[in-house]
Every structure is written in C-alpha cells, then in structure tokens.
C-alpha cells in the first residue's frame, strides 16, 4: 500500500484506499503531460497519444478489445450518462432495471417512471434468469443491471444475461463498480453494450471513472466540446486514467491471494453471526469474497454504524433516515426481506488493510452492541 490504512476501516465498497503507485502515477503524469489532449500543437498531440495508450492498456487489462473507454469523473456520472443519453436518443425507449441497482441508476425509477420496468432479485440476492427472460418484453430497448450488487456483494450471472440481451438485440448496461479489481472481469466474454467502472473502488485516485462502450448511439450528458468522440465534453484527465491503470494492475496482481484471505475473514464473520439465529445473513455465494451484508432485526443500521464509528470502526448501511423515520434499505427489501430486517442491515466490506485482529475486534463490538 505504501502508507498505513486503518485496519478498522470496513467500508472498501464505498471507497478503497488508493495504492501508493496509483497516487505517484497521478502526480507523475500530471507533471509530464499537462497539455490539453485536444490542442493541436505537439504537446497536445503527445498528451492525446498518451491518453490513447493508457486507455488501450486499461481496456486490455479487462480483455476489452472491441470498444472504447469513455472517461467520466465519477461512476454516478457514467451511469447517468448512459441512461439519460439513451432516453434522449430514443425518447420512446423502455428500460428494464434490476431493483438492486445503485441510486445513480435507480433515480430513473422516479424521473422516467413511464419508461421503466423493474425486476427483483431472488432472496439470495441473485437474478433469476427465467424471471429475467420473462421480464424482457419486446419493447425493452435497454437493460440496466449490476455485475456485483453493491449492498450484498452478490455476483450476478452477467455472461448469461449479456448473451440473452445480445441474442435479442437489446442494449445492456452493466454497473461494474464493485466488480472491476475485485473479481476477474473478462469483457470479451460479456457481450454487453455498456459497462460502467469507477477507479476509486479499486484503489485509484478519485475522479477517475468511465464507461466501456461498444455502441456510441446516445446523446452526451455534458455538451460543449468534441472530447471523448463528442460523447462527453470537458478536458480529459490523462493522469486519472494513468492512476486507474496502475491501480487495476496492482489489484489484479494481488487478486488471487487477497480473495482467499478475504473469504476466510468473511467466513469468520459469518460463523460468529450464525450463532445468533435472529441475525440474517444477506450475502450468499457466489459473492464478493470481502463483502458481507448482515441484518440485525430490531436495530437500526444507522445506529449500529454510528455506534461502531464511536469505537473507530467504519462500516455502512443501506437504510436511511428521512424526517426522523427510518427508511429500510431498498435493496435488502427487494430481496424479500422484512422492513425490520432491511432497517437493521449493515454492510461490512474488507480489503487490503483488513486484518484478522481487526475482524475479531469488529465481531466483538457488534455482538456487544446488538445482544
């Protein structure tokens, strides 16, 4: 890592600490390629070539050979770009959306209600392919799903879903924020149209995100420049791509060993929580090795997060507080859990800085809180 990450940090799914190399690379490229990639002078052209080189390197790491990386500043912008861009291009288009998607896609359920059809995951948090095919009406123009659910870590059958969409000529947008850098992603095997990514989830600097796109038939969200093939105006952040490349390389290097280690830590958490029949484990395999969602019915996830925070632990919850009333986690509810279970859900996500000791301490603290 290069610097000390607090072992009590259990919120890697929200944002992972950056790799030292990714930070250094950001600084280095910022200094050596400061020209605007759209400028026509020599330095501008050199920056443009560097940008293309880095994008190709990033795409190749994900076995993505037949499409481009569109840069955005955040993952939410990437998701918005495709949904808004698609509906602006095809105003009569209809979206089929999984109910466990991130808020940066879920906003469409309010804004584009008439254009939307929803389908829910199973109790395990996974998509059911039969249900999916049933929901895939002939008038659906784009499907929006997760590769990995951001709250439960459920790994979805994305290859099969992509093939089903491809066979029916339906565009598919996959939110890959939680998958890239955490599980092997082979874009050559996922014939989707758009795959959105965010660098800070796998240890790059923040402000680096994008869409791996095989189709450019959508209207830009940000206008006023021809950058990014006219799909996103604004000066490209070459250093951010460089940081993503470094971070992805490092994540891939450690992936096999880290997956094994994190799975063991997760199993330890599960074993302890299973001793209490009232607790509900929301994560089930296949899932991310380092992410566990667990519900403590009768408690509020926010209270638990707050109480743990006082002891120095950082975890997160999908439930929210609105007008002094607890709102259950939408994603946990979509899996068929009760309100009580969804309100009491907590997400524990681990990474490179998590240790055996910190996991044991967290278990003790949680059990002390909810017993």
């Amino acid at each position: 890592m290069g610097f000390q990450v607090d072992p009590k940090y259990f919120d890697y799914a929200a944002s992972a600490p950056p790799w030292q190399g990714a930070v250094d690379e950001y600084c280095e490229i910022s200094k050596s390629f400061y020209a605007n990639a759209s400028s026509i002078h020599q330095q501008g052209k050199a920056t443009k070539q560097k940008l293309l080189e880095l994008k190709k390197e990033f795409c190749d790491l994900l076995h993505f050979y037949d499409g481009r990386l569109l840069l955005t500043a955040t993952g939410s912008e990437a998701n918005n770009t495709i949904i808004e861009g698609h509906l602006n291009k095809y105003p009569k288009g209809k979206i089929l959306m999984a109910m466990d998607v991130h808020d940066s896609m879920w906003y469409a359920s309010r804004k584009h209600l008439k254009s939307l059809k929803l389908f829910s995951p199973e109790k395990s948090g996974h998509y059911n392919l039969k249900k999916f095919v049933k929901a895939l009406d002939a008038d659906i123009s784009i499907v929006c799903v997760n590769h990995v659910s951001n709250e439960t870590g459920a790994i979805q059958p994305i290859v099969e879903i992509a093939q089903l969409c491809d066979e029916r000529n339906v565009k598919l947008m996959v939110d890959g924020m939680q998958s890239v850098g955490h599980i092997p992603v082979n874009m050559d095997e996922i014939p989707c149209t758009y795959y959105t990514i965010s660098g800070h989830k796998f240890g790059s600097v923040k402000g680096a995100a994008g869409v791996l796109m095989r189709d450019e038939n959508f209207e830009p969200l940000i206008m006023g420049g021809k950058q990014e093939w006219g799909k996103r105006a604004g000066t490209e952040d070459v250093a951010a791509v460089a940081s993503m490349v470094k971070a992805l390389k490092r994540s891939l290097e450690v992936m096999a060993d880290e997956s094994k280690r994190l799975r063991q830590l997760k199993n330890e958490l599960v074993q302890h929580f299973e001793d209490f029949p009232e607790f509900v484990i929301n994560s089930s395999e296949p899932d991310l090795p380092g992410l566990l969602s667990v519900s403590f019915p009768g408690f509020s996830g926010r209270e638990i997060v707050g109480a743990l925070s006082l002891s120095g632990f950082s975890v997160s919850t999908g439930s929210a507080c609105h007008a002094n009333e607890m709102e259950p986690s939408r994603i946990i509810l979509s899996m068929g859990r009760t309100d009580r279970e969804a309100i009491g859900s907590v997400r524990i996500s681990m990474g490179i800085g998590t240790t055996d000791v910190s996991v044991k301490e967290l278990i003790e603290k949680i059990i002390e809180l909810v017993r």
Binding site: Q49, L52, Y65, D66, G67, R68, E122, S124, N186, P191
Partner: protein, 512 residues
C-alpha cells in the same frame, strides 16, 4: 454503413478507430507506410484487409478493412468453401481454406466471410449438416501437412515468373505450384498463372524495379513448419506449473492425437499446431477436445505449449512441442531434439494397455457398478420407508387417514428451506384449500436439530432440509416418503409447485 476515414494513422489511432467501429463496419485509411499499417491492422484484429487504391507515386495507399469478430463462438453447422484459383487461402482469423473444400466455420466467422470483400472468393453454406459431416480435415496442421505432401515433389524453380502485387483480402495464398503469396507485397508468380490471378484473384501489374525471388511454401514448411504462414509470430511458453513426467498419460490419448504425436516423432517435426480452446474454458473460442487432451499432456510433463500472448479474436492457435526441446529466441525458436525422451514416448504410444491393466480396469468398473447399485438401493429405501409402529407425537393426526406434508429444516434457516416452505404453503393453501379446511391434508414444519424429533429424523435418515409425506391409517403411521425432487427444484418456482401438486394429487386419488 458507417465508415471511418483516417490519414496516416499511428498504431494507437488505428486501435482507437477499431474500438469505435460498430461490428463488421469498415474503415478506410490512407498511408504512405503500407507495410507498417498492414502489420498494425492485422495485429489489432481487422479483417478483410484490402488495398483498394494504388497511387502512381506509391506515396499514399488506400486500405479498406472491417472490424473483426468478438465474443465466444458457436458452431452450428456452417461451412465455407474457398473458390478462388489458388491452392489455399489464409484469412485474417487464420482459417486455412483449401480450394473447393468445405471447412467448418463458427457463426462469427460466417459473418466475417459474408463481408463484400470475400464475395468473389468464398461460398458459404449455412447449417449444412452433410457438409459438416464430410469435413473431418478442417484442422490447420493437417491441412498444411496435406498441402505439403501435395507439393513436396514439385520443383517449380525454373518457371518463368512475373512480379504481381497482391492487394488482399486474404492474408496469404498458396498457389498451385507452391508459391507463397503475401498481401500488400510484390510476389514472383509463374507467368502461366498471371491471367488467372489478375482476372479472378484481383492481382495487379504494378511497376516494380527489382526482381524478387519467389517464396515456396514447401521449402518454408520444411524450414519453419506451420508457422510459415504467420507473419512475425511471437510465441510465448504457456505458464503451466511444472509437473513430473507421467508417461502413463499417453495410454489414454485419442486416435487423432496419437496419430499427430506419431507423425511428430516419425517425421522429426519440431512441433504441431492445434486450433481451438480447452473445453474447461467454457467461453473459449472454438472449443476442442484435442486441445484439451494436448493440454493434459502438458500438465503431465510430456509436452510444452506455446502461444501468442495476445491472439485478439482469432480462434486460439497453440504450438505443442516435446517437453524442453524448444527454446524461444528473439529471432524465432531453436530446437534440440531429445531422442531418448522421444523414444520413450514412441514406445508408450505403441504399447497397448497390458492385460493386468485391463484386469484392474474391469475390477474397478465392477466395483463402481456394484457400489452404484447399493447406493441406489439405499437411496430408494430412504425415500420410501415405513417407520416402526412407534407413534410420533409431533405427527399425531387430527383425523383418521390424514395426509401430512412436513418440511424438516435446521434451526438456522437457509435460503433453500425457506423457499421450499414458501412454495409448499402456496400449493397447499391455494390448490388443496378444501382438503386443508377438512383436515385431510396438513402442512407443518419440524426442526431437525430439536431432540424431540431426533428419533423420527434418524429413522428417515434426514440431515438437511427435506420435504416428507406422511400417511396414516387411523392413528397408525403407514407410509413416509421423502420427496427428493423438492430439493432439486427449489430454485424453479413453477416446476416445484407442479411436482408437489402431482405428488399430492396422486396420493389423494389413490386413497379415494
């Protein structure tokens, strides 16, 4: 059709343009550096590359190409026939197409070969099962071997030749006399073929100041083997953990692989080439049993495998050589035959399994069959049991002749048993509501871990979630049956409900 135009593109410009092209769409590029751009295009994965305009000053060549194929491939009986005037053609996905022979192609290659560039040279046959069956010789290595055998006795050296430029769309052609022709180059071809090549194959008379010697496939094949047709092949040894050599793995090789290995040994070949991917790679392009078998021999320390690290979208091409014989160098590869090891391999291949091995095989098979029969019997016994006359309080029927559907589950509920419970309740409550009201059918759940249920659970042989039907004669338990399908179908809502409905209906009918 969207077409992208590029002038003097760098490798990265071409790569970016390729990525931005919709599937199978075209790019047109003008360049003064023909060879460099052609090489880049081939590496990136363009297909149907053709030089469509040749300037007088040769300063600005116009090249047209299309985006290649992507994703996993599927064979569904399509075949392609090359009908040009060469002996064979090699396309940009490294399919070797001998003239007038049906070659099996996947659905993606079918789309590529349907591009206008190939219109005059390729005949496609969609889902022609007969043609597929005929075609056993689509294998790259064997086709090359056949071509070599056909050409090896020819001595075309003294023929009159003319320099012709080959603009594509194939990567290479092998002419009837063995002359090897490369795209984008001047090739010395026999004068007698000139009319045919310029008329039918699109070769061009372009002024050329120097006379180049012809290149013959048969000579190159002896020198380089199948890599003859690959420009600038950069092989890398596949990273497989080192295993101790286990020659017994050769006992079970299939006939085609045995034939290939013997050929390698008999003809002192350096390597053989296989096209396709390992069957364990579920989404690999062109799945091949032989590749899987050969990879097993690599794991058993008999062969080494080499491939290009970035094979783009072509069906993977793997070179196999005898273990430790081949060394990759900057200029190609060096070979040092290990005659002792080759002899050991030959002896093993020629050996048929011994009688003692056969006997062991038969004993093992008999053991497996007997074990399977015993297991099946035990399984049947578990599924249909009649517990001893003992009365189980937890099953005490409220009315005579009651049918009870009981879900056994562990104290810690899992997803499977929750699903089974929900679906069973649905069936009972919605489809057997009258029976439920009258009490002739009941549904209940029992905990496996509860000591009260221990005796019943032990008699039934249950250790995980299970759905069991109990039938009573009066108060006497007469019949108990575990429904095995319930555990298999818990993920399939409709099938689970159908199965349970049928089970209950049948029992209720038989009791009427």
């Amino acid at each position: 059709m969207d077409t992208i135009f590029l002038n003097d593109p760098s490798y990265l410009d071409l790569d970016d343009a390729y990525r931005g092209l919709p599937k199978l769409h075209e790019i047109i590029t003008k360049t003064s550096n023909l060879q460099e751009v052609l090489k880049d295009m081939e590496k990136i994965g363009f297909v149907a590359i053709e030089i469509v305009d040749m300037p007088f000053d040769r300063d600005s060549w116009t090249i047209k190409a299309s985006k290649g194929k992507h994703g996993p491939c599927r064979f569904d009986g399509n075949t392609a026939v090359y009908k040009g005037c060469a002996l064979a053609a090699l396309d940009d996905d490294l399919h070797l197409l001998p003239v007038s022979q049906n070659i099996r192609v996947c659905e993606k290659t079918m789309k590529v070969l349907s591009l206008p560039a190939y219109k005059n040279f390729i005949e496609l046959k969609a889902k022609d099962q007969e043609a597929k069956a005929e075609n056993e010789n689509e294998d790259f290595d064997f086709i090359l071997g056949d071509l070599y055998n056909l050409l090896k006795d020819l001595n075309p050296g003294n023929t009159n030749r003319k320099m012709l430029f080959y603009p594509g769309p194939f990567r290479s052609l092998i002419l009837q006399d063995g002359t090897l022709v490369r795209r984008g180059k001047w090739n010395a071809v026999p004068s007698e073929y000139v009319d045919q090549l310029t008329g039918k194959e699109g070769f061009l008379h372009l002024e050329y100041s120097e006379s180049e010697p012809p290149v013959f496939f048969q000579e190159m094949y002896i020198k380089e083997g199948p890599s003859t047709l690959m420009n600038e092949l950069k092989l890398k040894k596949q990273n497989v953990p080192e295993f101790l050599t286990d020659l017994t793995a050769l006992n079970s090789v299939s006939k085609p692989l045995k034939h290939r290995l013997l050929k390698l040994l008999d003809e002192n070949k350096k390597y053989f080439v296989l096209v396709g991917s390992d069957l364990s790679d579920k989404l690999g392009c062109c799945p091949s049993e032989e590749v899987t078998e050969a990879n097993n021999l690599v794991k058993k320390g008999i062969l080494n495998a080499y491939s290009e690290p970035d094979q783009g979208e072509s069906c993977p091409l793997t070179f196999y050589s005898i273990k430790d014989e081949l060394t990759i160098t900057d200029t190609g590869f060096k070979i040092k035959f290990d005659t002792t090891f080759r002899k050991q391999i030959r002896e093993r291949l020629e050996q048929s399994p011994s009688n003692s091995q056969r006997l062991i095989k038969w004993i093992l098979m008999a053991f497996i069959i007997i074990s399977s029969l015993l297991a099946a019997r035990r399984c049947y016994e578990l599924q249909t049991i009649t517990p001893a006359a003992a009365k189980f309080e937890q099953l005490q029927p409220l009315i005579d002749g009651q049918l009870q559907l009981v879900l056994f589950h562990n104290e810690k509920r899992c997803y499977q048993c929750l699903q089974m419970e929900e679906m069973s309740r649905f069936v009972i409550e919605s489809l057997f509501s009258d029976d439920l009201k009258s009490g002739s059918v009941v549904f209940k759940t029992l905990t496996i871990d509860d000591p009260i249920n221990q005796e019943l659970v032990e008699q039934l042989g249950i250790f995980a979630a299970a759905l069991v039907l109990f039938e009573f004669d009066g108060e006497e338990l007469t019949y108990a049956r575990i429904l095995p399908k319930a555990n298999e179908l818990y993920r399939d809502d409709a099938a689970f409900k159908d199965n349970l409905t049928n089970e209950l209906t049948e029992i209720l009918k038989s009791n009427e």
